[in-house]
């Protein structure tokens, strides 16, 4: 299950020249780019549902990059951020990195450093999106289980043997084994270890 959608890079910088330059540069790498002069413009933009990465200037007139990073976190918008800054300010860069930034680059930055950071950001976002998709699929499959199967799964997740599960549910051990087979198939779990991991993801343990 890989995300085949074409990724997109967003740039927010109040300096028009740098914005246009980044657009020209990233386009040469066949990346889709959207540039914004302010964080407000970015928020007003209908972002396509594709893997993305945000190149964000630190010092901007209305809302600075660090505050915007916090706002995104508060709003639950999970997008990897590459900071670019005109001031090689160490405390600020530490703050940004602690808050989960991919990279903090001082202007003028080296092309390769920027491209590597964007690449890493896009890869992380792709991974995150895949995980989100996997979780959604798992939840759907879990919802499709019968009530009896859910009962068995909850106890398998706790590590109980079939005998004890049968006793607790007041059914025969054969029935437990059959339900376990159904669960494995419906959730596409190959091994017991897979199943336990899924149970953890589903919050059953």
């Amino acid at each position: 299950m890989t995300d085949e959608k074409k990724p997109m890079v967003f740039v927010i910088d109040d300096d028009k020249a740098l914005r246009d330059g980044l657009q020209l540069l990233l386009e040469s790498l066949s990346l889709d780019v959207a540039c914004f002069a302010s964080t407000r413009e970015f928020m007003a933009f209908a972002r396509p549902d594709v893997p993305s990465c945000l190149v964000l200037d630190v010092r901007m007139p209305v809302q600075n990059g660090l505050d915007f990073q916090q706002q995104l976190a508060r709003d639950g918008i999970d997008i990897p951020i590459v900071f670019i800054s005109g001031h090689g300010d160490i405390p600020i860069s530490v703050r940004a990195m602690k808050a989960g930034a991919i990279e903090f680059l001082s202007k003028p930055f080296r092309e390769q450093e920027l491209l590597d950071a964007i690449d890493l950001g896009l890869r992380r976002d792709r991974d995150r999106r895949e995980e989100v998709a996997r979780n959604a699929a798992l939840r759907a499959a879990y919802a499709a289980l019968s009530a009896g199967e859910k009962d068995v799964l909850a106890r398998v997740a706790r590590g109980l043997p079939n005998r004890q599960i049968a006793d607790e549910l007041g059914v025969s051990e054969i029935t437990v084994k059959v339900r376990r087979g159904h669960i494995m198939r419906k959730l596409s779990a190959a091994t017991l270890a897979d199943l336990v991991e899924m149970a953890i993801t589903l919050g059953l343990r």
Binding site: L18, D20, P108, E111
Partner: protein, 363 residues
């Protein structure tokens, strides 16, 4: 205030010392000649109080010691009067002198601490202002520079593609030229800023300006145990300038000289500051040290920004000094000094009579 400083630096403390000595001798004579019942020695308190105004704490301490000794000596030499009364009077006088010395010395110390703190603050404020200026200039130039690099990379990529896109490459090249121009504009703006039309110049007495710079540098000189020698030419004509910039130049030159003599042993570190009439329309102040000096080939280079021989420091001091001096229509240069050391000369044009006329009309 500058006048007082000048007087102090010229060493006219001698008069005060003579006056105090005469007073002590007078009191001593009267105290010895009068009866023991008459406590003339208490008058030494007045001498201590007077000295606190013009001597350093150490001077006051020495003077106090002399007064105490004189009191005891008078008591021993005086033949007439009751011995009991004499003992009590002598004791009271000694106590009064000691107490006055203690109080006036604490006041002196507090005042000197305040002066030092003030000088340090002035230095720090200037250093901070220059640091801030540097940071904002760096940022102004950095913006177009960052864009320029990005456009350069973009151009290379569009041109280096399997099928080069000349249109995009041209777009990048045009942007590069534009951004380079933008960076150039920033530099020009800074130049015109440093050109000094923004700061209104005022008539200044060069001796006062130099004395002020010395006052700011005094702490550093004392810390490095440098002997400062001043030679001011009195009654020089006024110059037109910015007091803050020129005192900064004096401070920078003295700070440089101080560092140049750091390698010499105690007592041999000398810095000389001189003011002179250079020509009918030029004044000069000079800062000379007896340090290692400057290699003949480097005499011009020392004024370049980032030129430094020190492990710490940005190499801005002389570059900024030159900018300031040139903004005043003056010149600054370095020479080899004999037998050793460096000499920095700053020449400044004096105010022509016409200029002072027009200036007086201004509010």
């Amino acid at each position: 205030m500058e006048r007082e400083q000048l007087a102090a630096y010229a060493g006219s403390n001698r008069l005060v010392v003579l006056l105090l000595a005469a007073l002590v001798l007078g009191i001593f004579a009267i105290d010895t000649l009068t009866d023991l019942e008459i406590a003339v020695a208490v008058l030494y308190v007045a001498v201590i109080l007077l000295s606190a105004r013009s001597l350093r704490p150490r001077g006051t301490l020495v003077l106090s010691g002399i007064c105490l000794t004189a009191t005891v000596l008078s008591f021993l030499l005086t033949r007439r009067g009751s011995l009991d009364a004499g003992l009590i009077n002598c004791g009271l006088s000694l106590f009064a002198i000691a107490a006055t010395t203690y109080l006036s010395m604490s006041a002196q110390m507090a005042a000197s601490a305040e002066r030092q703190a003030r000088a340090r603050l002035a230095g720090v404020t200037r250093a901070a202002a220059i640091g801030e200026l540097g940071a904002s200039i760096a940022h102004e130039i950095n913006q177009p520079l960052a864009a320029l690099v990005v456009y350069g990379n973009a151009g290379l990529r569009w041109l280096g593609a399997p099928s080069p896109n000349l249109e995009k490459t041209q777009e990048a090249l045009e942007a590069i030229v534009e951004q380079a121009g933008r960076a150039g504009d920033v530099v020009n703006r800074i130049r015109s800023l440093a050109g000094g039309t923004a700061v209104p110049f005022q008539p200044l007495a060069i001796n006062e300006v130099v004395a002020e710079g010395i006052a700011l540098a005094r702490e550093g000189l004392q810390a490095a145990r440098v002997n400062l020698h001043t030679d001011f030419t009195p009654e020089l004509p006024e110059i037109l300038g910015d007091r803050v910039q020129l005192t900064q130049v004096v401070l920078n030159l003295i700070a440089n000289a101080t560092e140049s003599v750091a390698g010499l042993s105690d007592g041999e570190r000398n810095v000389f500051v001189t003011t002179r009439r250079f020509s009918p329309d030029q004044l000069a102040f000079m800062v000379r040290d007896n340090g290692a000096g400057i290699a003949p080939g480097k005499l011009d280079q020392v004024f370049d920004a980032f030129y430094t021989t020190k492990a710490t420091g940005m190499g801005f001091g002389l570059a900024i000094s030159r900018t300031f001096v040139e903004a005043h229509g003056g010149k600054i240069w370095a020479e080899q000094s004999r037998p050793q050391g460096a000499l920095f000369v700053v020449s400044l044009p004096v105010v022509s009579p016409n200029e002072s006329e027009t200036r007086r009309d201004e509010p």
